[in-house]
Symmetry: C2
Subunit: 338 residues, 2 copies
């Protein structure tokens, strides 16, 4: 027996010598149907191991009840955890989810959105790739009136629904915490400069400095992608300044981990020589020595809200873009206390 072609309602109808519509109705549990026929159909379907073809269903129904999720990567807890939360919320609403990773590539982002569109996803939840320097692909979605929500990696250049945290305020709190713990010379290892989220956090950093009477010095700010190699180089540069910083704010735990590694190699003590605060509060933070102080984002809530905003667009006839701004908590651990 070769790759057997799947059994269809037609096959069932043929065997039972009835019409496909009757089979279709029975299988979907429609009311107006004779118990006997219904039972016969259900029994045979079971025996033949009938599986409905979702493609066909979706095609005729012109609905897929599927939402597409675009992630920069799934190799970081923040995003994979968001995915979990989105999936759960979506499932509760009767939607299923398909995901893809852009690996921070604009091209892949564009291509994947296109693919999902062709596969008839009904809406998108997107966190932009690092090098998404233009937004034409997103604008197309908007023009096509495809429901859409951005989270975390958003941009102000688009009029869309977003779920974000108050990044400026979070960075302000984090930086103030460093200052209050005695840091005088602060450095910021930021993310890519064209990421709005990065700039917002940098703003908060600056404001904290000035509101505590400290001077902002550009030489103490560097922009990194999230790679380990790059980050280590930048961290080392920073510590080689004539007056090295005594406190560092990193904008992602990924950056922080590499930085701590670099400092450790050089025998620089955390928090004694340099205090550190970071963003994301990945589980790894608590496993490090010293454990890492980090800004927690309410991942579960972000997932729920993203789905909520999307459903709102999905289920009503278009609606104003809406922005949900959630609170963060600074989770204080050893790396910033002295």
């Amino acid at each position: 027996m070769n790759k057997n072609t799947p059994v269809t309602i037609k096959d069932i109808a043929l065997v039972l010598n009835i019409s496909v519509s009757t089979v279709s109705r029975a299988l979907r549990g429609m009311p107006e149907i004779h118990p006997d026929t219904k039972n016969a159909i259900l029994k045979l379907a079971e025996e033949m191991d009938y599986q409905p073809n979702q493609l066909a269903k979706n095609l005729v129904g012109n609905r897929t009840k599927t939402i597409g999720v675009i992630m920069p990567t799934l190799s970081y807890y923040f995003f994979s955890s968001m995915l979990n939360s989105i999936e759960e919320a979506a499932m509760q609403a009767g939607y299923s989810v398909i995901v893809c990773q852009t690996n921070e590539s604009y091209l892949r982002e564009k291509a994947q959105i296109q693919n999902m569109l062709n596969s008839q996803v009904e809406g998108f939840i997107i966190s932009l790739a690092c090098d998404s320097y233009d937004y034409e692909h997103i604008n197309r979605l908007i023009r096509k009136q495809i429901p859409l929500v951005l989270f975390d990696r958003y941009t102000d250049k688009l009029e869309v629904s977003k779920v974000i945290v108050d990044n400026k305020q979070a960075a302000f709190k984090a930086t103030s915490h460093l200052i209050e713990n005695g840091c005088k010379k602060l450095s910021c290892l930021a993310g890519p400069p064209h990421l709005e989220i990065s700039n917002q956090r940098l703003e908060g950093f600056k404001e904290a400095l000035s509101s505590h009477g400290l001077l902002y010095d550009e030489r103490y700010v560097s922009h990194s992608d999230f790679t380990q190699e790059n980050t280590i180089i930048q961290a080392n540069n920073m510590m080689s300044l004539a007056v090295p910083p005594d406190g560092i704010l990193t904008m992602s735990d990924r950056i922080a981990f590499s930085t701590m590694y670099a400092l450790k190699q050089k025998g620089i003590k955390i928090p004694e020589d340099v205090a550190m605060v970071s963003f994301n509060n990945e589980p790894t933070c608590m496993y490090l020595t010293p454990s890492l102080t980090s800004v927690n984002q309410p991942i579960r809530e972000m997932g729920t809200q993203s789905v909520r905003l999307l459903l709102k667009q999905l289920e009503s006839d278009k609606i104003e873009p809406e922005t949900v701004i959630l609170d963060t908590q600074l989770v204080i651990r050893e790396s910033s206390l002295r």
Copy 2:
């Protein structure tokens, strides 16, 4: 303007007053077509922003060129990294990938496989959930002759293609390494007992003991799910034995991280009091203090091989199950050296 229904080849045909078949041919770049008509069609398609409906294509073609990947979770580097590697290999072969996470639940595994099946995926790459205690859902795939590859979390109860590492040997090497570094009383924090992978590693652990003249003592072995709470309890129990272990083999970095955390709380020094070796070599291993010795699995290679085995089944008419066993490397770091 309301949620505009997508433009189809029919719409294009209508506007140009030609037949849909001509449009279809032009769009697919078939040869026998007049340059003028072709250009007109392409131009209009562009203008109307036509997007082919993949559902319809797949339905008529009776192919989706899609493979389904079932992961226990994506929140661990090993699996999310495998996903990357699978995606890359699949893409090269012209297949796309859809993923889902079972969250270690048998029920979700079963349901998700069913969903993907209904969505006409052509084959599966699966790593079994922790509590997949029966394999009937997998057996159905086999009976239906759906191409299938298991990786990492496999079982010997199924005759299917697998991509795994030599777990017994890896555990043997890891354990021997501990013994050679002076450990006399070894403990093993294993995974769930019904996971073949867990048992294989336990075998290797035992063999290493006996081949070094050490006694195997069941009290020094515990089985944990991968949760932090559970692991911490078990680690603490282990250290409360009359003669606590001076070396611990953990079967996953997730278990190791929690264990190290527990030991740190109790002021137990690693590696001085207890040396540690683990499995998976997640990036976090190098960030810990002490850095964690861990068994590396060739993730990229595992992904490539999984796809290769799947393609083999996909593209020929059924083939004998094949098992690929890959080598591991023990990456020695501070946690095991003394």
